[in-house]
């Protein structure tokens, strides 16, 4: 063969091969350090908080199953250089309990990336005993890896929306991010003031319509009851108990990054619960919706209720992921809709189950994906 001399490598050589093994409590500190390096949102909390959350999520009170572990990649010196968080979950499908597995926080050091560690971590995870695997809020590179390993992006579960609650603040937000802190605050205040004046002047785009329903805080038991009603029309849904919900609420409430957690029920004029929403209200900031669910046909009411509540909490923007039954409703028609901003990914060898997972017969909200917890 007549080939010219090898060009210089573009990246430094990895010293040797990496081993992949189960994540243990002794690795938490390294994973905390890696999370801080890889995920900007992890820099907003203390390492101690991250340590406790990771410990809580992966080692305490969680449902565990032999053969389904979070994974770490270690170099020959034993240094943790890659991580994939894995949570086993139980789902109900066709009257039976099936095992699923959710992955998140795929990360690897520069050296580990050169040794294909992300691909190997995902490959090992996907070859586990679970009936199906999924990931929520994945970035484009993970989608490509996932697809190559036999998974599929769920287009109907990957539609993100943004609703401007205060148009001026919403519009100047990208600008604010470009300016230094000293200018950011005045711009924010001026925008917020302008929005207030627009509201006083009753300009149509600056006010939110009050929905003709009763909104009030909803407890875990009522949510659980509501979920059971919604699940009746679903073919697959998480096998959740009130204590699971309690735990997730505790974790959500403790997170200091996103604002104040609200869980609000929607009751119609006959005092029937028609839906609820769980979201972080952030005065002057983005309100992130974790779960917004309604009875079929009540999506408009739900949408208006969240916008109204978030507006009154001082939010400038509402952001969330639509579930399939909300596509084509105000969640996508009266919002900036962003298909594929991030991806929900499924991996399933059973074609029948895969079809259900990709349809609106599956119940999978952001609450079932723990991505934003770390």
């Amino acid at each position: 063969m007549n080939l010219a001399k090898t060009a210089q490598p573009l990246r430094p050589s990895p010293s040797s091969s990496f081993k992949i093994r189960a994540f243990t409590p002794g690795d938490i500190e390294s994973v905390v350090q890696m999370s801080i390096e890889h995920f900007p949102q992890c820099r907003l909390v203390s390492p101690g908080y991250l340590y406790e959350t990771i410990d809580d999520l992966y080692f305490k009170d969680t449902f565990s199953f032999d053969g389904i572990d979070s994974l770490v990649a270690v170099d020959p010196n034993g240094t943790v250089s890659g991580f994939l968080g894995v949570t086993p979950k139980k789902f109900r499908y066709q009257g039976e309990t099936i095992l699923a597995s959710m992955c998140n926080h795929l990360m690897a050091s520069e050296e580990a990336r050169s040794a294909l560690v992300p691909m190997r971590l995902l490959q090992q995870f996907l070859s586990g005993p679970q009936k199906f695997s999924y990931a929520d809020g994945s970035v484009e590179s993970t989608r490509l890896l996932w697809k190559r390993l036999g998974g599929e992006p769920s287009f109907s579960n990957s539609v993100y929306y943004k609703v401007p609650l205060r148009p001026m603040s919403f519009g100047t937000r990208p600008l604010q991010q470009r300016f230094p802190n000293s200018l950011r605050k005045p711009i924010k205040k001026i925008s917020y003031g302008a929005d207030y004046l627009f509201g006083v002047a009753r300009l149509p785009f600056s006010r939110r319509k009050q929905p003709d329903v009763r909104l009030s805080p909803i407890g875990i038991d009522q949510i659980f009851e509501g979920l059971n009603r919604i699940w009746r029309s679903k073919e697959i849904y998480p096998e959740t108990s009130t204590s699971d919900l309690d735990k997730i609420f505790r974790l959500l409430k403790n997170d200091p990054r996103n604002g104040t957690l609200h869980h609000i029920g929607i009751w119609n004029n006959r005092d029937i619960l028609t839906g609820w929403f769980i979201y972080y209200a952030s005065a002057g900031g983005v309100c992130e919706v974790i779960q917004a669910v309604s009875l079929p046909g009540k999506e408009t009411e739900l949408f208006e209720s969240i916008c109204w509540h978030a507006y009154n909490e001082g939010g400038t923007e509402l952001s969330g992921r639509a579930i399939p039954s909300q596509i084509g409703t105000p969640f996508t028609t009266k919002a900036f809709s962003m298909p594929g901003r991030m991806w929900t990914l499924f991996h399933c060898k059973d074609d029948g189950l895969a079809r259900v997972l990709h349809s609106d017969k599956a119940f999978l909200t952001r609450m079932e994906g723990d991505l934003w917890l770390i």
Binding site: M1, L3, A7, P9, P12, S13, P14, S141, L144
Partner: protein, 86 residues
């Protein structure tokens, strides 16, 4: 015999071309360990696989994915030959 050798040489050259194109190299030795040299990361591997599929009209199924096949140009050529013979 000569025809087989010629064909093999053509495959080698095409794999070499795809590799150089994907890894932004002028050239690569057939036995260079692409992992050890840090030339191939997970994303580059995905892109390389797509490029090989296009170039050789083959389909690399997830169950056929063995990362060792991508360790060097030589092993990639073997994998392509194997896929083409299916």
């Amino acid at each position: 015999m000569a025809e087989a050798a010629l064909k093999q040489n053509a495959t080698d050259n095409r794999v070499h071309m795809v590799l150089c194109d994907q890894l932004l190299l002028d050239s690569v030795d057939p036995d260079t360990d692409l992992f050890e040299e840090g030339l191939l990361d997970s994303m580059a591997l995905v892109n390389l696989m797509m490029a090989l599929e296009q170039e050789f009209s083959i389909m690399i199924a997830p169950e056929d994915l063995d990362m060792e096949d991508y360790r060097s140009m030589e092993s990639i050529v073997s994998m392509v030959n194997r896929m083409q013979s299916i």
